[in-house]
């Protein structure tokens, strides 16, 4: 994860790798994140003389300074914070699902959890919901149902293929129902759907971040607290039970926590794939699968990758923007292929 373009950081052959200590890695990532967030916040279509950042506040009356201040505070910072929150939330949910399914390819996008959330959100919008206070819970319900279905279908037989096939089916079902909803939608609803569907970070604003940030933080803490249980699940479901983790309760709790995390993220940012797949994988490659460290490092890594993707999305076709999903898929698609061929080999 030291490389700024993580998808290219192919690990060396399985000879003994020198691993940085987890705390070191976490620290490095946080520093990188801080640097990247700063870089991202200081670049954009509006040129702000950041060398004189302090002056922007020293001259409160100057309209130009006020304008720059506002661009910084109302446009850029919320966007950067949003990227951090969404990235870390998606990444940790991916890591946790991989443990739950005991399957390194479990990812909210691939197994249908994101599209399930999307279905919930679209359903709410078509039924007339406008406020996130309704759309987000609806997305949660959609995610929950999809996760439950993926779990039921994907663990009938062990192995990666079964889960992925279940994901294909769930995604297909969700997409078709979304299609039906879209067909039924009125003009106003269609308009809301279009905005929502654009699935980007453009919706960033402080009033939304004011609840989303603590929400993601809280759920991340709850998930990190389960690190022992998640480690035990890696051994196997029977083994986890032998180690004192009541399996049904544990499964239910993790499925619900994941849906509580992914649902609202989908409701505010749309379906952004691959972050939940790529980031935990890279962290495992450098650090191993011990969730005590994997989860916090994944949080930082997810924030880092998402901030980078958002930065690129904003800069490449300036003054327009690329949809962030294009960037993450551009990184994630080849990564998934690489993983699949590697597993076969």
């Amino acid at each position: 994860m030291r490389s700024p373009s993580p998808a290219l950081a192919v690990p060396a052959a399985p000879r003994a790798r020198r691993r940085p200590s987890p705390l070191q890695l976490l620290l490095i990532l946080c520093l990188l994140l801080a640097a990247l967030a700063l870089a991202s916040a200081s670049s954009g279509a509006v040129r702000i003389p950041l060398a004189h950042l302090a002056d922007l506040w020293r001259t409160p009356a100057d309209p130009q300074a006020a304008f720059w201040r506002n661009v910084l505070l109302e446009v850029r910072l919320p966007r950067v914070v949003f990227a951090i929150v969404v990235g870390s939330g998606l990444a940790i949910s991916g890591a946790v699902m991989q443990a739950l399914f005991r399957n390194p390819l479990a990812e909210p996008g691939l197994i249908g959890v994101s599209l399930g959330g999307a279905l919930g959100a679209v359903g709410a919008i078509v039924l007339g919901a406008q406020s996130l206070a309704i759309i987000a819970p609806a997305a949660f319900v959609g995610s929950l149902l999809a996760t439950g279905a993926a779990y039921r279908l994907g663990t009938v037989q062990p192995g990666v293929a079964n889960l992925l096939l279940a994901g294909v089916a769930i995604n297909a079902i969700c997409a078709s129902v979304i299609g039906v909803f879209t067909y039924q939608a009125t003009d106003v609803q269609l308009r809301n759907l279009t905005f929502w569907n654009m699935g980007s970070l453009a919706g960033a604003n402080w009033s939304m971040l004011a609840w989303l940030t603590p929400w993601v933080l809280l759920l991340s803490i709850l998930l990190i607290r389960d690190w022992r249980a998640l480690n035990a699940l890696l051994l196997g479901e029977r083994e986890a039970q032998h180690l004192g983790f009541a399996l049904r309760r544990l499964r239910h709790r993790i499925v619900i926590l994941c849906a509580l995390l992914v649902g609202p993220l989908v409701a505010v940012a749309g379906t952004i794939s691959f972050i939940g797949l790529v980031v935990p994988h890279l962290v495992r490659l450098t650090q191993g699968a011990d969730h005590r460290w994997l989860l916090p490092i994944t949080l930082a890594g997810g924030a880092l990758v998402m901030t980078l993707a958002d930065w690129l999305a904003r800069m490449i076709v300036m003054p327009a923007e690329l949809p962030i999903g294009i960037i993450t898929a551009f990184i994630g698609g080849p990564f998934l292929l690489w993983l699949l061929t590697r597993r076969q080999g």
């Binding site: 399985p14 443990a99 005991r102 390194p104 022992r228 480690n231 035990a232 890696l234 051994l235 196997g236 029977r238 083994e239 039970q241 032998h242 180690l243 004192g244 983790f245 009541a246 399996l247 495992r284 490659l285 191993g288 699968a289 011990d290």
Partner: protein
């Protein structure tokens, strides 16, 4: 103590255990022998509290086993199932340390001492800095064994009753490590008074290391007692469907040696 009386168990419609009575005595090894599908693994799962008993009684220290929570049980008994499958990249020490999970936060130094001790018992000390996935099958088995040993020994009060259950623990081990593993079990049984239940395939290994043996056929107990009492040609033929001779062990007194027929009668 873990005590079963007229235990019965069914999986779906199929009765897998009937009328099993046994006691796991502190400091003693009970070996369970039987042909494939005789119910050995079901017996272990029932005694571990994993699947419910359908009849008879099953008690741990005088209290019904099903009245214990999953977490409580984990502090009293450790189980090593057959062929554990771990496909994620963990360090050997991380895997072994999982044995301490039921006990919450142990002081780091105590945990370190324990890990060192169980690694030694499982002859896995040299593996301690390796990655689990880079180990051979037999090495992985030893690491898993160290993990359940840790669970058996962690935070144990003086004279606290603990049970160790192993399902075919020697299956993927070479002869030296088979002996070493059983020696380790016997040692903590002797030193710590741990009660052990071992499902085994190798009759002679069982005869050599177990204090008592139980022979299972189609879910029922054929015989239970010391190896000498139990390992008779008649019992062995009932259990395995293969004629066998039992002779005194040339090197170890009081230990029977079983020689199975070299061909199956048509």
């Amino acid at each position: 103590m873990l005590h079963a009386e007229s235990l019965a168990c069914a999986r779906g419609e199929r009765v897998v255990l009937r009328d099993i009575s046994l006691t796991l005595t502190p400091g003693k090894l009970l070996g369970v022998l039987g042909a494939n599908g005789a119910g050995k693994t079901s017996l272990l799962a029932t005694l571990a509290g994993e699947i419910p008993a359908h009849g008879g009684s099953l008690q741990l220290d005088g209290r019904a086993l099903h009245a214990y929570s999953t977490a409580e049980l984990a502090r009293r008994r450790a189980v090593l199932p057959q062929s554990p499958s771990l496909s994620f990249d963990l360090g050997v020490r991380e895997v072994v340390a999982m044995g301490a999970y039921p006990f919450g936060n142990l002081p780091a130094s105590r945990l370190e001492t324990l890990i060192a001790r169980v690694l030694a018992l499982a002859d896995a000390t040299v593996l301690s800095t390796r990655r689990y996935l880079a180990l051979s099958g037999g090495e992985q088995q030893r690491v898993q064994f160290a993990r359940v040993l840790l669970q058996t020994l962690a935070a144990r009060a003086e004279d606290e009753y603990r049970v160790l259950m192993l399902d075919e623990p020697t299956a993927s081990l070479d002869p030296r490590h088979q002996v070493q593993l059983l020696q380790g079990v016997a040692r903590i049984a002797r030193e710590e008074g741990v009660a052990s239940l071992l499902v085994l395939h190798d009759v002679n290994l069982a005869a050599q290391w177990c204090d008592r043996l139980m022979l299972l056929t189609r879910g029922a107990c054929v015989a239970q007692g010391t190896p000498r009492e139990v390992l008779t040609p008649e019992n062995l033929e009932t259990v395995y469907g293969l004629p066998a001779q039992v002779i005194p062990h040339p090197a170890q007194a009081d230990t029977p040696l079983v020689l199975f027929a070299s061909r199956v009668e048509a």
